[in-house]
């Protein structure tokens, strides 16, 4: 027999080949189809008016808004590498996105708008994402490594922490605590009690009307405007400059000291009735300007 004659495949081998082909061909066609870049997501959860809500979105953006319904609504898009999760009870809801596979080193991404009852207690964590929260009146905790944290018109207890993300707060009342690293912190129209600490991030206070303590290591602290009547602002830096702009007519009592830099301040009619600012720096300069 010639060696060119091909051996005949047995009927069993043919059946096996057919099964393998039937299994692999659809997979191959799927592999060729491009994956969607984003997928829409829309979910709802029944909730109490003070529901405790935990949101975890490693990358992307989370926007929290309030509405007058006893439920939590989530809408937006999630990345092709992510899957949405969520659930819980009426009093505790947890939602977010996670990786499709354990091996995928890309952080799961989403862009979500979460509507919550006004008194909800909210906890948000991102790694490389933006957080934007508006109009809440319960408790708010937000954590980010990189990205941005922006909070507007919030009341109650607010805790914001970041490593590299800038933090901005506009119109907050209650107890505000900010812990930052490299990112700048901007507080505007804040009332109540405030505690801010950064490492190299600068801190800017405008329309400030709170008892507060501001600490930085290398970041500067700037007090641009505010009314401190009956209140005290403590500022401490290691190397960051402290810039205070106080009203010439209603200057608060100033207690300023730095160990290795000048203190520059004009002659002012200071009065404890206008509040008190205590500023200390290891080697940062302190400059007071009248406005």
């Amino acid at each position: 027999m010639s060696s060119l004659v091909r051996p005949r495949m047995s009927s069993r081998g043919r059946r096996l080949l057919c099964k393998v082909a039937a299994t692999l061909l659809p997979l191959a066609s799927q592999a060729q189809a491009p994956l969607p870049v984003v997928q829409p997501v829309h979910r709802g959860y029944a909730a109490t008016r003070d529901v405790t809500l935990r949101i975890y979105v490693p990358a992307g953006r989370v926007r929290v808004v309030v509405w007058s319904r006893d439920s939590v609504d989530v809408s937006g898009t999630i990345g092709a590498n992510a899957s949405a999760f969520g659930g819980g009870s009426r009093t505790h809801v947890k939602l977010g996105v996670e990786s499709l596979t354990q091996e995928d080193s890309t952080m799961p991404r989403a862009d979500l708008v979460v509507s919550v009852p006004r008194a909800a207690r909210i906890w948000i964590k991102t790694i490389d994402g933006d957080i934007d929260v508006r109009d809440t009146a319960g408790e708010l905790e937000a954590y980010a490594v990189r990205g941005r944290i922006a909070v507007h018109d919030v009341r109650g207890v607010t805790v914001l922490e970041s490593i590299d993300a800038p933090v901005s707060v506009e119109r907050a009342a209650g107890d505000l605590r900010v812990r930052g690293g490299k990112g700048d912190v901007s507080l505007d129209a804040v009332q109540g009690t405030v505690s801010v600490a950064t490492i190299s991030g600068a801190v800017t206070l405008t329309r400030f009307n709170a008892d507060g303590r501001i600490e930085t290591i290398g970041g500067s602290v700037t007090f641009r405007s505010g009314v401190l009547a009956g209140m005290q602002l403590d500022v401490q830096t290691h190397a960051g400059a402290i810039n205070l702009s106080v009203p010439a007519a209603r200057a608060p009592a100033l207690d300023l000291a730095t160990r290795a830099a000048p203190v520059v301040f004009p002659t002012l009619a200071q009065s404890p009735a206008n509040g008190r600012i205590v500023a200390r720096s290891f080697k940062g300069r302190i400059v007071v300007a009248a406005r």
Binding site: S99, M107, I163, R179, E215, H238, A239, F282
Partner: protein, 207 residues
């Protein structure tokens, strides 16, 4: 006389037929005892068994630490008498040490495997033992995205840690010059507090 020169009896044939099962541990206790009893009486089969159970020198691991070796030997000797008799007691002295050595080697191999295998169980309270046998556990159970997140947090915080450490060094230098300066201690405690907070934020970034 070598084992090839020794006469082969019916008992030797039975020995040969069951040796593989014996070495694999598939025999019942009674059958294993029969094998060992025959090997203790038959020079040929003794040699066969010795060759079959001899461990090449190259397979020996480096010497175990004394504390491990002592505890393993103690465990071997502390076996119930019946079990010890089954394994060793009925053998001639020339068999006892190879089998005891085999047991020691098996125990050592088990320890090595435990020490090298990824530990996925929770420690059971014996922290001293766990610290010896448990390697650092992967923090995120192989979740690559969480590993990336942890790396990002650590990378972004690195320069801040450096700033904090530099600030602490400056203040400590000033404190050496004036150790009684309370204000310097306030500055130093603030720097340390910031460092502690940052370390906590980094560690909790992916929790």
């Amino acid at each position: 006389m070598t084992h090839n020169d020794a006469p082969r009896t019916a008992a030797c044939a039975a020995f040969d037929a069951t040796l593989v099962d014996y070495l694999a541990g598939r025999l019942t206790e009674r059958a294993a005892e029969r094998i060992e009893a025959h090997a203790a009486e038959c020079v040929r089969c003794e040699c066969v068994l010795e060759l079959a159970t001899r461990v090449p020198d190259a397979d020996f691991a480096p010497p175990l630490p004394d504390v491990v070796r002592t505890s393993v030997l103690a465990a071997v000797y502390a076996q119930p008498r019946s079990a010890a008799t089954t394994a060793v007691g009925t053998l001639t002295p020339s068999w006892r040490w190879p089998i005891a050595g085999g047991a020691l080697l098996a125990a050592a191999a088990t320890l090595v495997l435990i020490a090298r295998a990824p530990e996925t169980r929770e420690p059971r309270g014996d922290s001293a033992r766990a610290s010896i046998t448990t390697p650092p556990e992967p923090r995120y159970g192989g979740n690559a995205a969480m590993e990336s997140a942890a790396r990002l947090a650590s990378d972004r915080a690195r320069s801040e840690f450096e700033s904090l450490d530099a600030a602490a060094r400056e203040i400590e230098g000033a404190l050496q010059a004036s150790p009684g300066d309370a204000e310097l201690r306030v500055y130093l405690s603030a720097v340390r507090a910031r460092r502690s907070e940052l370390a906590q934020r980094v560690s909790e970034a992916t929790s």
